[in-house]
Every structure is written in C-alpha cells, then in structure tokens.
C-alpha cells in the first residue's frame, strides 16, 4: 500500500513534472472550461478550495491530526477580509494579509489548547472550538453581521504599483486565485518534503519515538495547526472576495465535514495530490450530478461510503493501483548514489 511517507525521486525538488502539468491545466482552464459545458466561476471555487484542502491535508494527512472544525478558519479569513475592506481600506493585499493573520492567530490560540492531546480528544476539541467560532459569528452581530453575514464586500483591484488589474470580472479574479493556488501548491510540496514536513510525518507515525530523538512534538503539532489555519484563512479571504460576502455557514460543521470528505475521497492520506483530486471530484459531482438530480449529495455520500469501504486510499490510491498494479507501490528511488562507506 502506498503511504504519504513514500519517497519519490522528486522529493527534493521545488518544481516537479506534476506541478507543471497542474499549473498548465489551471492557467489554461478559463480558455476551455466553457467549451466543456462548465462556467468560469466554478474554476474560482475549485482553486480556492484546493488552497484550503492542501493546507488542511498538511494537518490531516501529513501530521495525522484530525481536525473536524477547520471551516472556522476559512470563515475567520472571510470575515477578516471583509472587515478590512469595510473598516480599514479597500486593498487586496491588505485584506488577504488580514485574513491570513486573523486565521493564524485563531489557529495558534486553539492549537495551544489542542497540541497536548491526540486521537479522539484532539478531534473532539477541534469540533468544540469550531462550534465556538461559528456561534460567535452568529451572535457578534456588530462585527460579523450576524446570520445575515457581511455583505457587499468589494473586490479590490490588484495594484502592482505601475499598473492596476481590475478583478470585477470572474475570469480576471480566476487568474489571481489560480496563481496563488500554484504558489501554495509549490510551497506545500516543499513543506511536506523538507525537514519540517518529514518530521510531521514522523510524529504521525510515532509520537513517542519522535520525542525520544529530540523533537518537541507539542511545538510541531502547534505549528502544523497554525500553518493549516493560515492557509484556510487565505482561502477564506479569496472566498469572501469571490462571493462578495462572508456568512456564518462558511464556518459550520457542514463545511468542516466537507473538507474532510474531499480530502478522504481524493486520497489525501496516501498522496500529495489527493486533496486536489478530492476538490475537483466534489465540484464536478455537484455540477454534473446536481444537473441530473436534486439529491446529488446522497449519491456523492454513497460514493464516499463505497470508497471508504473498498478503497480507503481514495481516488489517488485508485489511480496509483492503475499505474503500478494493485497492492504495489512505486519502488523507492530517491537517490541513485550509494550511501557513504566508512573511510
């Protein structure tokens, strides 16, 4: 069976062939998405949720820390972006920075309480904190607009000093979101394959051993949660810009469950690209199945159950089986050079 900790020959690279293909697909999407019967805004949603899912999987798949309340940080990012535009100034970078900072602070605060826990207690506490944030979003009317949410959030222009790029059009906004998605993908790939990411994977496999070789397990768990919340905040800021609003439903348990489902169905537990596949599959299912039946979520749910029962490695595991044969993993070949012999 393949695992996330498997080593490939691309592990030590910044840009891999898969990242190039992904970037080409993403950047060319506006030119062909309508030709296949879909629409520009779908691309924005998919790209935003890919950011969210990659950040989430750093925690869920790589560190093995099961958060079921991550929608909260998506929502905090969305509200912070809106709050900045309404109360500080209309600025794209300012808003996105505010979204990331707010989600990072909230994530770090929660992680302070969580990081001594593991297993079911960790998972339950993430739900509890998620619900606290969701409830606060509904009740703090003066800050969030209550159940109505924060409306009329502007889409600020991309101001590069010498030129400005208006983002009112979905296609223009898509290119910004897609560029950030590619950037996040590259950084995520490096993070999970750099020492930090390998240490998280070690902690997932054996916390006790990690501590006894000198790692401050608590600190790494805190860092993983905080980074993951930061990326959720970035996705939330972009989501608020895309929707031109922020509302409590973004922080609900339903949204938190959705990201878990996407990552699991896609195969985030066995492959870096699992979350990406999961997000694409979900949105395609929503649109294609949704155009056939109103009960599309029931069919999607059944597919989830089937996947968990028969192929828990998800879509990525399925594709890996097709490529390498069932039960086999790609041969580990990170380095052709032999290890050093004693002098």
């Amino acid at each position: 069976m393949t695992t996330l900790s498997q080593v490939s020959s691309n592990c030590d690279k910044w840009i891999t062939p898969q990242i190039v293909v992904f970037a080409v697909l993403l950047l060319s999407l506006p030119f062909w998405i309508e030709a296949v019967g879909l629409y520009q805004y779908l691309g924005i949603e998919i790209a935003i949720w890919i950011i969210f899912a990659l950040g989430f999987n750093l925690l869920f798949g790589y560190a093995g820390l099961h958060s079921f309340g991550h929608g909260a940080y998506l929502g905090i990012g969305a509200y912070a972006f809106g709050y900045f535009q309404h109360n500080v100034g209309v600025s794209l970078f300012g808003g996105l920075a505010a979204a990331m900072v707010a989600a990072t602070l909230a994530g770090a605060l929660v992680a302070l309480f969580l990081s001594h826990r593991r297993g079911i207690y960790y998972a339950l506490m993430t739900i509890a904190f998620g619900q606290v944030f969701w409830f606060a979003a509904i009740k703090l009317h003066w800050l969030t607009g209550g159940e109505d949410g924060m409306l009329n959030i502007p889409r600020p222009a991309l101001d590069l000093g010498i030129t400005q790029w208006q983002l009112d059009d979905n296609r223009a906004l898509y290119f910004l979101v897609a560029s950030l998605t590619i950037l996040v993908t590259i950084l995520s790939w490096r993070t999970v394959n750099a020492p930090f990411g390998r240490i998280l994977q070690a902690i997932r496999q054996n916390e006790t051993r990690a501590a006894f070789i000198g790692y401050d397990v608590w600190w790494f768990k805190l860092a993983a949660f905080t980074i993951s919340a930061m990326l959720a905040g970035l996705a939330g800021g972009l989501f608020a810009m895309a929707q031109e609003s922020a509302y409590p439903d973004t922080m609900s348990l339903h949204q938190s469950g959705l990201i878990v489902m996407m990552v699991l169905v896609g195969g985030g537990l066995v492959n870096f690209w699992g979350p990406v596949l999961g997000v694409v599959l979900y949105y395609l299912a929503r649109d294609f199945l949704g155009s056939i039946t109103e009960t599309w979520l029931l069919w999607y749910g059944l597919m989830f159950v089937t996947m968990v029962m028969f192929k828990p490695e998800g879509l990525a595991g399925l594709l890996s089986d097709l490529k390498f044969g069932s039960g086999k993993a790609p041969a580990p070949s990170p380095s052709s050079q032999p290890l050093a012999k004693e002098a």
Binding site: F196, Q205, N206, P332, L339
Partner: protein
C-alpha cells in the same frame, strides 16, 4: 566520575510504589547492565532516567547537570538516547529515513524549506555510516516495517545511535531474538562500547554477564545487588532473583 547518576529515585503510581530509593551510577565508556525478574521495575526505572516518567522524588544527574523531570526531548538533545522493549520505529518510512530523522543536523534544519533530505550528502553519509555500524547496509530504502524482526531490533539501536548520544539506554535488546541474532547483537554491542557509554536492561543473564562491566540487580523496586559480573554470578540472591524465586 559517573556520566549519569540516579540518586534515591522513588516512583509511585497512586498508592503503588514501583521504585524505592534506587541509586544507580553509570561510568563513561562502560557497559552497565540492569537485571531483575518481570515486574521488578526495570523499565519504569528506564522511563524515569530518560524523561518518560517524572520521579516522585530523588534526582537524576547527566554529566553533572540536574535533569530530574526534564522532558524526553530535552534529555535526548543533551545526548542520552534509548531503544524500547516494544519496537518503536517510523514504520511507513524507509530505513534510511528512520536514521536521518534522528540526526541532530537534520533536527536543527527543521525550519529550512530548501533543505534537501534524501539527496543531501551529509545526511546520506552519516546515515550510511550508522547503517553500516548496525549491519543494515543494502536495506536503506526498504520500508522499516518490511524488515525482519532482528533487523528491526538493529534499526532501533541505529536510531538511538544516530542521535549522536554520549549514553545509550537499551531496553531488553535481545527480546524476541533467536540464538544467532542474539550472538550478532552481542558482537554489535561489543563494537559500540568503544564509542558509547551503554546501559542495558536485560533478561538474558548470560548475555549481560558476557558484555557488562557493571551490573545492578533490581527486585521489587529496589537495588538488591551491584557489582562486576563475576561478583554477582556467585551471589545467591542474584541467582534466585533472576530466576524469579525471591518471594
């Protein structure tokens, strides 16, 4: 002077006293053994020495520094590493990654996003030397869970050595090993004594008597005898204790 000392260690879990006034001293460059019957408190003693449990009272000194109640990671960073009676490896990771993860150079580079892991010459060089030391060369890229039991034991020791320790605690290293694997392990430990201070908990009396310079016998949470193997071999209490006959 002793490199590592436990002074009057006492450990209780609720009303149950597991260790009572245990004093141990491990000299630099020597192999020290701890033996005793099942349930004597040997592993609890190791857990206290390596930071897994905080002693209820007493103190632990490592190179003169008081480390009583320090966390396992702090003690590990100071240069004390350990293996476990029940195998404790990173099972999804390759053999070489298990070693690389324990290297202090790797640990210190945790924040470097551009740091290569599997093509980094220094990491590979050091991991290669450790694997050669424990006899696992050629198995570098195997997942550690696919190794034979004896090789997993050797990898446990390799991980402990990779942390560049001054003192290595080995908890029941022969546990589950056959005669041939035990003999190979004895050879390995003989070679390691040139470089490390070693403390071993061991059930196998012959194994311990063959290798150790100094042995402490623990029974019912107390040290009932200490001395060189030859002195202890003729000690009636020790013989009866090791056979579990003391009542």
């Amino acid at each position: 002077m002793a490199l590592f000392e436990a002074i009057n260690i006492h450990k209780r879990f609720g009303s149950r006293v597991v260790l009572e006034d245990i004093s141990l001293s491990f000299e630099e460059g020597k192999i020290s053994g701890i033996m005793g019957p099942n349930g004597a408190g040997k592993t609890t003693c190791f857990h206290c020495l390596t930071g897994h449990h905080r002693p209820t009272r007493g103190s632990i000194l490592f190179d003169g520094q008081d480390i009583t109640g320090a966390s396992p990671q702090k003690i590990a960073r100071l240069g004390a590493s350990r293996s476990f009676q029940l195998m404790n490896l990173f099972d999804d990771s390759s053999v070489v990654e298990n070693i690389i993860l324990a290297l202090p150079e790797f640990r210190q580079s945790y924040a470097r996003l551009n740091r290569k892991v599997f093509t980094h010459p220094e990491f590979l060089q050091k991991a290669g030397l450790i694997l050669q030391q424990v006899g696992l060369q050629g198995l570098e890229w195997q997942p550690s869970q696919s190794l034979s039991y004896g090789n997993r034991r050797a990898l446990e020791i390799g991980v402990a050595l990779a942390a560049n320790p001054r003192i290595v605690f080995l908890d029941e290293p022969t546990s589950g090993l056959g005669a041939e694997a035990t003999r190979q392990l004895a050879e390995l430990i003989k070679n390691l004594r040139k470089k490390y201070t070693i403390v071993m908990i061991e059930h196998d009396m012959n194994f311990l008597f063959e290798l150790a310079d100094q042995i402490s016998v623990i029974h019912w949470g107390q040290v009932i005898a200490q001395g060189a193997p030859k002195e202890l071999q003729s000690n009636k209490w020790v013989q009866r204790s090791a056979l579990g006959e003391v009542a």
